[in-house]
Point group: C2
Chain length 228, copies 2
C-alpha cells in the first residue's frame, strides 16, 4: 500500500474528478494511504472531533444517529468513491452522527487543517465542495419529501424501484440487511417483513434471502434514474 493507493482514492472520487492535475497531486500529497477497516467498525461517533475528511475507496459505511430512545436512525450510506464529513468540516467542531462500516472497507482520509488550507487556495476545489454539499442537501430534502407521507408499502416500492434503477437491473441483492432497510425506511422490521410478504403474494416481486426480482411494478412507480 504505497502512494499509489492514495492517488487512486482521490482520483476515483467523483467530487474530485476533473480537477486539474496539480490539485489532484496536492490532494494526494495531504491524504493518508488506504486504511483497511473491518465490517462493524465505528469510524467516528457523535461527540468526537471532526478532524478529517473521509474518502471511501471500497466497501460500505452507514452514517446514523441515535434518537431520544437510543434507536438507530440511518441518515445515509457511503459507497465506494464517496466523500464524507465535508459538510461538517467547515461547520462543526464535533460529529453529530455515527459512522460504521457495514462491509470490509478501504478508506483514505485527509486532515481537516490540510484540506481547509488547500480549499482556501483553490477556488475550483471550493466550488466542487459546494456542489457536493448542495447535492447532499437536495438528496436529504427529496428523501424527506418522498418518504414523509408515503405508507410503508409505498416507501418499500419506492426504494426497490430506486435501487433497481441505480443498478439498472430488475434483479439484485439488497445492499443492506432487512433490519437496516427497515430503519432506513423508518418502519419496524416486522412491518417490513409483512410488506415483503404482501408484495410477493401479489406477484410484484420474487425474493430469496436478499436476492430480489421485480416483476410487475405498479405504473405509479416509474423509473427515476438517480436519487434526485
Amino acid at each position: 500500500m504505497d502512494e499509489h493507493s492514495a492517488i487512486e482514492c482521490v482520483r476515483s472520487a467523483p467530487i474530485f474528478v476533473g480537477l486539474d492535475d496539480e490539485t489532484i497531486r496536492q490532494l494526494t500529497a495531504i491524504s493518508t494511504h488506504q486504511e483497511k477497516i473491518m465490517a462493524g467498525t465505528t469510524i467516528y461517533r457523535a461527540g468526537s472531533a471532526v478532524d478529517r475528511l473521509l474518502v471511501v475507496d471500497r466497501g460500505r459505511i452507514k452514517v446514523y444517529r441515535l434518537d431520544a430512545n437510543g434507536q438507530e436512525q440511518i441518515l445515509y450510506f457511503l459507497d465506494a468513491h464517496a466523500v464524507d464529513s465535508e459538510s461538517a468540516l467547515f461547520t462543526d467542531v464535533i460529529h453529530h452522527n455515527f459512522a460504521e462500516t457495514v462491509e470490509d472497507s478501504l478508506v483514505c482520509s485527509i486532515r481537516q487543517s490540510d484540506f481547509e488550507q488547500l480549499v482556501e487556495q483553490t477556488p475550483s476545489l471550493a466550488v466542487r465542495m459546494m456542489r457536493s454539499f448542495g447535492k447532499r442537501l437536495t438528496d436529504l430534502e427529496n428523501r424527506n419529501a418522498r418518504y414523509g407521507t408515503l405508507m410503508a408499502r409505498d416507501r418499500l416500492l419506492q426504494y426497490l424501484e430506486e435501487t433497481a434503477g441505480q443498478l439498472s437491473q430488475r434483479q439484485f441483492k439488497l445492499p443492506l440487511s432487512k433490519r437496516d432497510l427497515a430503519n432506513w425506511l423508518s418502519i419496524t422490521p416486522e412491518t417490513l417483513s409483512r410488506q415483503f410478504s404482501k408484495l410477493i403474494s401479489e406477484g410484484i416481486i420474487t425474493m430469496s434471502g436478499r436476492e430480489i426480482t421485480l416483476s410487475n411494478l405498479p405504473a405509479s412507480f416509474p423509473d427515476q434514474g438517480g436519487t434526485r
Copy 2:
C-alpha cells in the same frame, strides 16, 4: 430605495458578516435593490431556473414542496437576514422547491453568474458558503432525527420549547398559522388542535389565538438554545 438598501441587505446577513469591506462592496455592487413582496406571493417554483441568490431583509418566506398527493410539505422558513438558494446555486439548474412569502417581505437578490464569479475569486466567501451549507444540512439532519420517531405531542412540545428558546421568552405569538405548523410537524391540523387542547387541559400551556404561554414544561424537554 437606493444603493443604501442593498448595502444593508448584504451587511445584515449573518452569512456575510465579518467579510472584509472590499468583499461586502463587491457583493453590494452585484446585488439588486430591495424589492417589496406582498404576503402570499410565490417567489420561485419547482421547475423554474435557479438564477439568483436571495437575501431576506424583512418578512418571512416558507420553502416547501408538493408531495405525490399534491400536499404541501414545508422544508424550512426564511426569516429576516436569511440567505436562500445558495445550495441550489452550484448544484441545480432548476428549483425543486417552492418559495412563498407568508408576510410582506423585503428581498434583495444576486444574479447567479455574478455571484459564482465572485465566489471563485474570493476564497473567504467560498468558505462562508460552505459553512452555511453545512449548517443547513446539519439542521435538516437534526430535524429528521428529532421529529422522525416522536409522537405528535412530543413534536409539538419540542417545537414550542425551541421557539420559546429562540425568542428567550415563555410567552410568544406563533410565527405561523396552525395549518402551517401542522404541516411543519407533519401531522394533520385536527391532530394539532387536539394536542393543543390536551396541553391546555394539563396546564402545560395557555393559549389565546396564536398567543401562547408556556407554564409547566415537562423536565424531559430542556431548553436547547438554538436549532442545533
